[in-house]
Amino acid sequence: MRAKVAISKASEGASGMTGMWRIKRPVIDEGKCNKCLMCWLYCPEAAIVRGKDGRIWITYEYCKGCGICAEVCPTKVIKMVKEV
């Protein structure tokens, strides 16, 4: 159907490669992560993905480096590392 107004539909990367905006990148210490999913829940860009086995990882193409995940992590295993 032809659009009647300007709307956009949800799709991965609809706003482009926003990972380019990042100054610091969040890095998860997987060995110490207890898979509580707080970072997955709080990430405003849905850039943290939850795998079938409960494992989580960050899609760096879209992560803007806001640091909320590191802030909310109860075990403090996400470090913000300066991009080079």
């Binding site: 009647k4 107004v5 300007a6 709307i7 956009s8 539909k9 949800a10």
Partner: protein, 388 residues
Amino acid sequence: MILTGNHAVSYGVKAARTEVVAAYPITPQTQIIEKLAELIAKGEMNARYIRVESEHSAMTACISAEACGARTFTATSSHGLAYMSEMVFWAGLGRFPVTMAVVTRTLAPPWSIWNEHTDILAQRDSGWVMMMCESAQEAYDTAIQAFRIAEDERVLQPVMYGLDAFSLSHTAENVDLLDQEAVDGYLPRLDPSKLPVYIDPDRPITFGNLLGPDRMMEFRHLIKEAFERARRVIDETAAEYSKIAGRPQTGLFENYRCSDAEVVVVATGASSGDVKEAVDSLRDKGVKAGMIRLKTIRPFPGEEIREVIGGVKVIATIDRDYSFGFGGILGRELSAYLKGNVFRYIAGLGGRDLTVEDFEDIINDALRRAEGRRGDVEEVWWGLKEVE
């Protein structure tokens, strides 16, 4: 049923099975939403009444409810409409088929609660279909038709309709109410899937997002096309309604005794009945007068009116509004479509009373000016006094 213009709107909105009313009180509109609140509280009308802290919020609530698939209505006047203006544009440019009654009132300063059309006309570029009612009966009829025009798939734009403060809003007359069954047949339930913006959790969308210069014009053009189609839809909607009501209806404009007219007066709103009386009175005196009553102001029926009165030698337009540095808004707009003698009268600003005699005098004045006996002034401020 004996109803004021305001209460006629309330009963029309009820008959249309409106689902959401969000409004803020302001004189002289308040009676509309008071009656709706009463009907909802009594359980006579199945709708949600949203109390808001301002007119800006009222329109925002209407837009949001409409996006969820509800039929919505609000009403305001003057300063309330001016305060609402940002969201009036959001509704128009976002194509939310909300309907709104505007009881026309002078904008301050100096403070005033009396009638003038400048408030509603100042919103004329907001993407709303705009109409003006002549009587309480027409206010009731228009309240129902407005939803059908707004929700028509060929239009999908909001509709506002004006009622003159006090002379229409607070004046009681006999109003014919339709059977609910007839209204239901005429105005089916709103189908949310046809809305330009429909918020469905299963199909997430973003609305109101940034759009660059490379695409904006195309979306404006879609609205332009909707307004061109609206011309036919408005006349069709009126014709269909007249079948269920058994009374003639006016779509774009009313042609009153213009077929052989040598002088035609163009006006709008609640004074139109008095203008018609002036036309009748002059006809009795041998003056071939006629009247065009503008029911619809957006889309502006300029070409359609030209087809009727393009050959008339003397035309007088009456504006109860003013655009400073330009002139009476409707007279100026109509002049763009007509050649020859168009005399523009500015009359009744701030609620100053206009009588049948005034309208007769205006028509005679235009005839004299056309003969060059009153100078070639094209804009006349009717009855202007000295300021002390």
